[in-house]
Point group: C2
Chain length 283, copies 2
């Protein structure tokens, strides 16, 4: 898949995800939106974004052989809800205290801290509602009783990646410990704070495409390597963790190759995933 084809694939899928968000979180008249909760959720969710995590869900599913249908898009979008909630809560004054996100005032700067906390809570909760709904819709469409089991496994994977042993743990570590200095400490933090949700995205996509155990294992390896590589690339751009910059540049290449190697058992349908990994080093 050439870069141009990847761009086309990304554009198409991203448009589908954005359309789903706009339709599902439609504008609510102020009188029916107490505390501006829905407005605040829309504000952050509909802000322009790369939609990388749901794209990884779809790319993983495609690699295993499932093309995007409505319920799969809904499940993919659920992973973005979790990412979006985490950004809102991370930006809060008690956390990173950020005023600007993606060129716009952060959620709490516009809606106040209380609504921002609640908007995050609601987005996180909605993620699991959407996964369950995706399961019910797929079950109704296929009649395959294994569909419910797969979606329940997807719920477990997302909750694990997002929660106390994954993303939230990374957040707690980031706030509760001095900045990491060694490469090992940088990567441990990245694996929790960033990698765990990437891994969950790959798991959700492959589980819902009915991947076999070897395929699922490969996707988990891809997700873990990709997640930490992504964080290295991000840190290098932001000039974070300056003590590890040379090491980080090397590790970015090694981890990207590890991610690509993990895909060796997949055919050409894994090209979107491969192209996404190559972009980490090609910029």
């Amino acid at each position: 898949m050439s870069d141009f084809e990847l761009e086309s694939w990304l554009r198409t899928r991203r448009a589908e995800i954005d359309a789903l968000f706009a339709a599902r979180l439609a504008i609510v008249p102020p009188a029916e939106d107490p505390g501006r909760l829905v407005e605040a959720m829309r504000y952050s969710l509909l802000a322009p974004g790369k939609r990388l995590r749901p794209l990884l869900v779809l790319a993983a599913a495609e690699a295993v052989g499932r093309e995007p249908d409505e319920p799969l898009l809904l499940a993919a979008a659920a992973v973005e809800l979790v990412h979006c909630y985490s950004l809102i809560h991370d930006d809060l004054p008690a956390m990173d205290d950020d005023d600007v996100r993606r060129g716009q005032p952060t959620n709490h700067k516009v809606f106040g801290e209380a609504t921002a906390i609640l908007a995050g809570d609601a987005l996180l909760t909605l993620a699991f509602a959407w996964l369950a709904e995706a399961g019910a819709a797929t079950l109704a469409a296929t009649g395959d009783p294994l569909v419910a089991k797969r979606h329940l496994r997807a719920v477990a994977a997302l909750a694990k990646g997002a929660g106390m042993s994954g993303m939230v743990r990374g957040q707690a570590r980031d706030l509760g410990e001095p900045p990491p200095e060694s490469l090992q400490a940088v990567e441990r933090l990245a694996a929790e704070k960033t990698g765990a949700l990437f891994r969950a995205a790959l798991e959700v996509g492959s589980i819902l495409a009915d991947a076999g155990p070897a395929q699922e294992e490969a996707m988990i390896r891809f997700g873990e390597s990709y997640g930490v590589a992504f964080q290295h690339a991000d840190d290098l751009v932001d000039e974070d963790h300056v003590t590890t910059q040379n090491e980080a540049r090397q590790r970015l290449h090694v981890l990207t190759q590890t991610a690509l190697d993990a895909l060796s058992l997949f055919n050409g349908r894994a090209e979107p995933l491969r192209a996404l990994a190559r972009r980490l080093v090609d910029g």
Copy 2:
């Protein structure tokens, strides 16, 4: 079921739930608990509580015919996780700004705002992990493919009750609007802020006990009436909404009777639920 028998039933079930929490959220050595996240989760979750919502899950399941086993206790406990997270976030300075909860300093007074926010996020996420795990365990024990579907429906019910059209909506209304003055406004707020999670508890319990549609409908009616009645009883004790106190006292009786009437199609196995409802008026 006499009051004494109810007390015995409550004590037994509560001990099972408390034991589950203590075992599942075991003490973590400080070095392995970055940001004191687990310590903060334990602090709020293991504080003495009535455990009313998980008790309602178990009572609903028992009414339909399912005795508490390990996975059902886990699913019931998941509903308490959601309640516990909501208390931590409600107490935050940006929200109700409470310093004391159940006679102890609130979570953020002990652990700081950042950790309190994250502990809430982690508890909410863990609730869905536990529901999914309960499903996987029951599926493994029974081999019944419908088990996964039921647990997926329980995920949907809990997410709906907890989220943007339920509990979080009530929180947003409470913070974003002046205090309700009419009975109707008081009950709308109570239905969202309190009733939606009670309703979800009844739904989770009846769904996981494989209730028929009429039984499930009855449980929903019970949950909705019980939830608002519970809030009236709570407000009367706290002398909240003083303009509606006489009306609230009458409505407490009417709604309790409505809840009891909803149970007419159940036999003696619904006695714990009936006794819980009667306690609202008997004090």
